[in-house]
Amino acid sequence: MVQASSLSLKEVLRVARLPIAIAVVLVLFGLVEPRVLSFGNLRNISLQASYLAIFAMAQTMVLLTRGFDLSLGYTVSLVSVAASMAMVAMGGGDASILYGVGAAVLIAGGIGLANGLLIAGIGINPLVTTLGMANMVLALASTISGGFPVTGLPKSLTAVFAERSLLAIPMPIWIAALVFVLLFLTLKATRFGRSLYIVGANPKAAVAAGIRTVPVLVLAYTLCALLAALGALLLTARTGSGEPNLGGNLTLEAIAAAVVGGVRLSGGEGGVGAAVLGALFVTVLSNGMNLVQIDGYLQQICLGVIIIVSLIVNRDEARR
């Protein structure tokens, strides 16, 4: 029994490792630059993290199946541009937002479906499929926009989905929270969620247990792309224009957030909570580095190092 209680303390430390790390990083940056800990900045961090959290949760849906989505970032770019063009084409009024959303759903749904069918239906390696898809999507994003931002979006888009607050909490945070709750419930309380874990942990065993793996995988990739589209619309609302370069680094950041949070690349372990915490950690770090004026390129180096360190740390845990 003594052993059991000491184990559970260890367990607490293990679970709380990331929140503790986030707090430590905040305090360290706060010592150098007190503005880091100001209310305004903390609110800002939460706001920024909510976007990344959506992308990290999207990526998590496929990481759980032992998959990957390298096309996530450029899907964001394409959705941003295409949805903006749809809105502008429909007159740029409030009602045109619906057309933008429709375009986003169609495009992202198509990309996700294609990824899923190629990977699960035909059986092509997910890395290569989504890498190829990434480049096709990138090409589309930059050609249909001609490489320039798409302007003339409805004002209400930004006003409602980026700037409005509810109970003093900005809209994007509410939306990210809603996504979190829905995905959490999906993973915990639906057959699809359970199947996702089983397929990821052992695809052959899933087949032998009568789980139909193809629809599960196709749905996972489609869900991932649709969530990326949601994030893309929110980011578009924030910038107020359709940006062909919006998603450049997002693939890496989303994977980094998920991996830092403890989602395992070997599939079947982790959850959306891990993705959200990982996103928060990555955001806190980059926000702190911005405020103490560390060069953006150095931050890119840090991101790479963090991925490797967290891979090593999480791996040790698996051995035990």
Binding site: T190, A205, A208
Partner: protein, 495 residues
């Protein structure tokens, strides 16, 4: 020549090998006998250096060895042929035989010399293999031959053979026995693991019997009877291990007619299984009995033939449709096909039953009722420890097997297909599995058991189909079941 004393090895605190002594003389064939999980493979893995060093003293030719890796073991002349091959599928036969010990002059490989040497090595053993074929394209028996030739490339002083005949036909096994005699004459000491009595009797000088990780004794082969060996191995009269099953054959539940798989691993096979009886599928490893079960369950593509449940033909079996039609299959390889090891025990127990009303309604999973639902099956199976939230990987082999079997108890199925139900589990867990089979059959289910363990067939089955090279070659009724009877059909002949 080789002597180990006090060998002990623990896995997660459980002793897989407990204070075992073992010795081997020059030119001696020393057989290791024991059931699955008795510690045979742990012992030979330690001797060959594939498992990290444990407690105990290890001497070779009077020299005490303090640490051992496979490389060091090879240098001091210990070679091993394990059941799990160490062949690289994408390299050819010649390349595999010399892998890790390539002969080069300067930077470049002596390809001709190596090919020549490999050909001589194989000729000397009487094995005929396509030298330049990739190993991926060889049959299991051919791979076994490559593996043996590979072990001999270093001219070993000690050779370990782990069930080398498990997938060989009569003629091939004969060649192996000749090779063993040749090596023995050259003074090579051979550790021979097998559970076929006839081989042990014909080949070995001494036998060491292990049970539950402990050494039961070492005897001179000619001084003990088969019955004596079996009793040493099982530790109790056979009747106590196997429950008495009341077979009451009723209606035909499963009928397979002239089934051929796309890969031709099963050819024109037919069998029937009735309610209230255990049907055995016997044959060598690779004879097609596993594939037959898999094809029935929809895991192997079918080219021709029919699978009938009752009097309804199943068009294209898939695992989900077969589960829905009350057919349950337990794969042979728990780790690779049975369990999601990274997930909790609870999820492993329910993973094939998520569509049951007890566990879901529509897409919603009733996770709050899950623990309640699995309690009874897991208690019946005596899962130890009873910890549904623990990862499946943290359970012992026998208890992992129970997690898998729990799926069959989530509802009552009409047909149960067991593929190698007792591989790698201890005697206690085996008895539990046999009792489970008994209770299923006596409740009126139809049970099909595919196994390489003859005693299981002889003691459990009411009828046995023997398969050879993909075909069903014999059907034996209960009164005809004896080890010699069944074995005589293993090689397709009428020996």
């Amino acid at each position: 020549m080789l002597e180990v004393t006090g060998f002990t090895k623990r896995f997660r605190g459980v002793a897989a090998l407990d204070n075992v002594d073992f010795s081997l003389e020059e030119g001696e064939v020393h057989a290791l006998l024991g059931e699955n999980g008795a510690g045979k493979s742990t012992l030979i893995n330690l001797i060959a250096g594939t498992f990290p060093w444990a407690e105990g003293v290890y001497r070779v030719n009077g020299r005490t060895i303090t640490s051992l890796t496979p490389q060091v073991a090879q240098e001091i002349g210990i070679a091993a042929v394990f059941q799990e091959f160490s062949l690289v599928p994408d390299l050819t036969v010649v390349e595999n035989i010399f892998l890790g010990r390539e002969q080069s002059s300067g930077l470049f490989l002596k390809r001709k010399q190596m090919r020549q040497a490999a050909a001589e090595l194989l000729d000397g053993l009487g094995f005929h293999l396509p030298l330049d074929e990739k190993v991926a394209f060889l049959s299991r028996a051919q791979k076994q031959m490559v593996e043996i030739a590979k072990a001999l490339r270093i001219r070993p002083k000690v050779l370990i053979l782990d069930e080398p005949t498990a997938s060989l036909t009569d003629g091939e096994a004969e060649k192996l026995f000749n090779a063993v005699a040749l090596l023995k004459a050259r003074g090579v000491g051979i550790i021979y693991v097998s559970h076929r009595m006839s081989e042990i009797r014909n080949l070995s000088d001494r036998v060491t019997v292990l049970r539950g990780g402990k050494k039961i004794g070492t005897v001179v082969t000619s001084e003990i009877s088969d019955e004596g060996l079996i009793e040493m191995m099982v530790g109790r009269p056979v009747e106590q291990l196997f429950p008495k099953i009341e077979h009451k054959p009723g209606a035909v539940r499963l009928e397979v007619r002239n089934l051929t798989t796309e890969k031709h691993s099963v050819i024109d096979a037919s069998f029937t299984a009735r309610a209230g009886e255990v049907v055995g599928l016997a044959g060598l490893v690779g004879c097609g009995r596993s594939e037959l079960c898999r094809a029935v369950f929809g895991l192997e593509a079918i080219e021709a033939g029919a699978v009938m449940l009752g009097d309804k033909a199943v068009e294209r079996p898939t695992p989900s449709s077969m589960l829905a039609a009350n057919v349950c299959y337990f794969p042979a390889d728990r780790g690779s096909e049975g369990l999601a090891l990274a997930r909790p025990a609870r999820e492993n127990a329910t993973m094939s039953s998520l569509d049951l009303p007890a566990l879901s309604s529509g897409p919603v999973l009733k996770f709050w009722r899950e623990n309640e639902t699995i309690r009874e099956p897991l208690t019946n199976l005596a899962l130890r420890p009873m910890a549904p939230e623990r990862k499946a990987s943290a359970f012992s082999g026998g208890n992992q097997q129970k997690l898998m079997l729990a799926r069959g108890l989530m509802k009552s199925f009409d047909v149960y297909l067991f593929d190698e139900p007792t591989v790698g589990i201890d005697v206690g867990a085996k008895a539990d599995v046999y009792n489970l089979i008994k209770s299923l059959v006596e409740a009126g289910a139809s049970v099909v058991v595919s196994t390489s363990e003859l005693p299981e067939l002889i003691n459990l089955a009411s009828r046995v189909y023997v398969m050879h090279e993909g075909k069903v070659v014999a059907e034996l009724a209960r009164q005809e079941l004896s080890e010699a009877q069944v074995l005589s059909h293993y090689f397709g002949g009428h020996a």
